[in-house]
C-alpha cells in the first residue's frame, strides 16, 4: 500500500527529467545502455549538456578517487602498445616511475594540488634550437593559470626539451624556498658512464652548475645563493653529460642533452 508520498513519487517518473537531472543520472551510472548512448551523443553535440555532466563528474570525484589501487597484470601494458600499433616491448623502462620516493617527493612540492592550469602551455613545444647557450629559443610557453581560487599557489614550470623536441625534464622553481623540483621523463643512462649535470645559464652569462640531476627520479635541488641571485626570466636551464667526478663542475664540458628557457618564475 503506497503512502501519499510514494504515489507522488511514482507520478514523478512520468515527467521527463531536466537536463540537470539527466546529466546527474549519467554520471551516477543508473542509465541503461540506450540511455547512456543518447546521453553520450548529447555530450558530444551539446556543450550545455556536456557542461552539466562535467559538473556532476566533479561533484562525484571524491568517490571516484576513493577506488583502491590494483596493479594490472603484466600482459596489459604490451597489449596497449599493440593496440596502438607499437611494438609490444618498449625501449623505455617505465618501472623506474614506480619509485615511492619519487612520488612522495613530487607530492611534497606540489602542495597546491590542482595546479592543473600550469601545464596548459606545455602542449606545443616548438623545435629546439641548436645547443648555443646564449641564444635560446624557448621550447614551450608557460601560460599563467586562470585565476581559480584553489590554484592560488600554482607555480609555472620550465620544460627542458631534448633535441627531438620531447621533454627530458620538467623543472619547477620555487623562489620562496629556493628549491628546484626536477621531474625527468625517464631515459637510459649514458653508455659512457657520464651523468647528467644541471646548469643555469643566465642571459648572456656563463653557466652556473646546480649539480647532479637524475634521469630516472624526480628530486629537488636546493639552489645555492649565487644561482638564486642569477635566476631570472630569460635565463636557461640546461642539462649536459659530464663525468661524475668533480660535480659540480666549474663549467660544462659535455654535450647538452636538454634545455629550456625560463619564461616565468
Amino acid at each position: 500500500m503506497n503512502t501519499p508520498i510514494e504515489q507522488f513519487d511514482d507520478g514523478a517518473e512520468q515527467i521527463p527529467p531536466s537536463d540537470e537531472v539527466r546529466a546527474g543520472e549519467y554520471v551516477l551510472g543508473v542509465l541503461d545502455a540506450d540511455g547512456r548512448r543518447s546521453a553520450q551523443a548529447r555530450i558530444a553535440n551539446e556543450s550545455g549538456f556536456a557542461a552539466l555532466v562535467h559538473e556532476w563528474e566533479q561533484r562525484f570525484s571524491g568517490w571516484l578517487m576513493g577506488a583502491p589501487v590494483v596493479t594490472p597484470g603484466a600482459h596489459v601494458w604490451p597489449r596497449i602498445r599493440s593496440r596502438l600499433g607499437w611494438s609490444p616491448v618498449a625501449s623505455a623502462r617505465p618501472g623506474v616511475w614506480n619509485s615511492v620516493a619519487f612520488w612522495r617527493g613530487a607530492a611534497l612540492l606540489a602542495t597546491a594540488a590542482s595546479v592543473a592550469a600550469i601545464m596548459i602551455g606545455l602542449q606545443s613545444p616548438g623545435p629546439v634550437a641548436p645547443p648555443v647557450p646564449a641564444v635560446v629559443q624557448a621550447p614551450a610557453a608557460v601560460v599563467q593559470p586562470a585565476p581559480v581560487a584553489e590554484e592560488a599557489a600554482a607555480r609555472p614550470v620550465t620544460v627542458l626539451a631534448r633535441d627531438d623536441g620531447n621533454a627530458g625534464w620538467i623543472a619547477r622553481i620555487d623562489t620562496a624556498t629556493g628549491k628546484l623540483l626536477m621531474v625527468p621523463v625517464p631515459s637510459p643512462a649514458d653508455a659512457q658512464g657520464r651523468v647528467n649535470e644541471l646548469w643555469l645559464i643566465p642571459d648572456g652569462q656563463a653557466p652556473l652548475s646546480l649539480g647532479f640531476v637524475s634521469n630516472e627520479k624526480a628530486h629537488t635541488i636546493v639552489m645555492p645563493a649565487s644561482v638564486r641571485q642569477a635566476l631570472a626570466i630569460g635565463g636557461t636551464l640546461a642539462v649536459t653529460l659530464e663525468p661524475e667526478q668533480g660535480i659540480p663542475h666549474a663549467a660544462p664540458s659535455g654535450p647538452i642533452v636538454a634545455k629550456g628557457g625560463i619564461q616565468q618564475i
Binding site: D9, G29, V30, L31, D32, M65, V69, L84, A113, V115
Partner: protein, 187 residues
C-alpha cells in the same frame, strides 16, 4: 598498495601534456603511475578481472588519442583519467550479455559502509568528506540507492529489482536525491 597511491595531479597533468605531444616515454610513465588506480575504478564496476583489464587497455588507448582534450583549467588530471575509466567500465557492464545477479539491496536499513578507502591526498579526502556529509543529509533509502548506483554502476531497473521497490519510486528517490546533493554541495 597505498604507496603507489599517486594523487599528484600536477605530475600527472605534466605527463598528460607530454602525451598530447606524442611522447611515448611520458605515456609509459603515465601508465606506471596511474594504471593501478584506474584498474581499481574499473574493478568497482566490473568485478571480473579479465573484463576490467580489457577495459583498462581501451582506456589507455583513448588516453593516448585524446590527451590533447585534457584541459587542465577545467579538471584535475586524475579525475579526468578516472572518469574515462569509469565510463568505459560502465559501458562494458551494459554490453555484457547476461548481467550477473548481485546482492539484494535493503533500503529500509541504515546505510551500509560502502565508503571508499582512505586516500593519501588531503584534497581528494576533502572532496569525499563534503560528498559524504551531503549524502548523510538525505533520507537513508536515497543514500543507499545513490551509493549502490555509483559504486556498482547499477541501472534503475536493477536497483528496482534488487530492492523490491517500484521502478517509479526508485527513479524519483534518486532524482530527488541528486538534486538535494547538488544543492548541498553548492552551499
Amino acid at each position: 598498495m597505498a604507496e603507489l597511491d599517486v594523487m599528484d595531479h600536477d605530475a600527472v597533468a605534466a605527463l598528460l601534456a607530454q602525451v598530447a605531444n606524442g611522447d611515448q616515454g611520458a605515456f609509459a610513465s603515465l601508465y606506471e603511475s596511474t594504471s593501478g588506480r584506474l584498474l581499481g575504478i574499473c574493478l568497482r564496476v566490473l568485478s571480473d578481472r579479465a573484463e576490467a583489464e580489457d577495459v583498462l587497455q581501451e582506456v589507455y588507448v583513448t588516453v593516448w588519442n585524446k590527451a590533447s582534450n585534457f584541459d587542465a583549467g577545467r579538471a584535475r588530471a586524475m579525475t579526468w583519467l578516472g572518469t574515462i575509466a569509469r565510463n568505459r567500465a560502465i559501458d562494458r557492464l551494459r554490453a555484457l550479455p547476461a548481467p550477473y545477479s548481485r546482492a539484494s539491496i535493503e533500503i529500509a536499513e541504515a546505510t551500509p559502509d560502502l565508503g571508499p578507502t582512505p586516500a593519501a591526498h588531503a584534497e581528494i579526502a576533502d572532496d569525499r568528506i563534503r560528498l559524504n556529509v551531503c549524502l548523510d543529509k538525505l533520507e537513508p533509502r536515497r543514500q543507499v540507492l545513490i551509493r549502490t548506483a555509483f559504486f556498482e554502476g547499477a541501472t534503475y531497473e536493477e536497483l528496482a529489482s534488487r530492492s523490491g521497490s517500484p521502478l517509479g519510486s526508485i527513479k524519483s528517490w534518486i532524482r530527488r536525491g541528486l538534486m538535494q546533493l547538488r544543492a548541498c554541495l553548492e552551499q
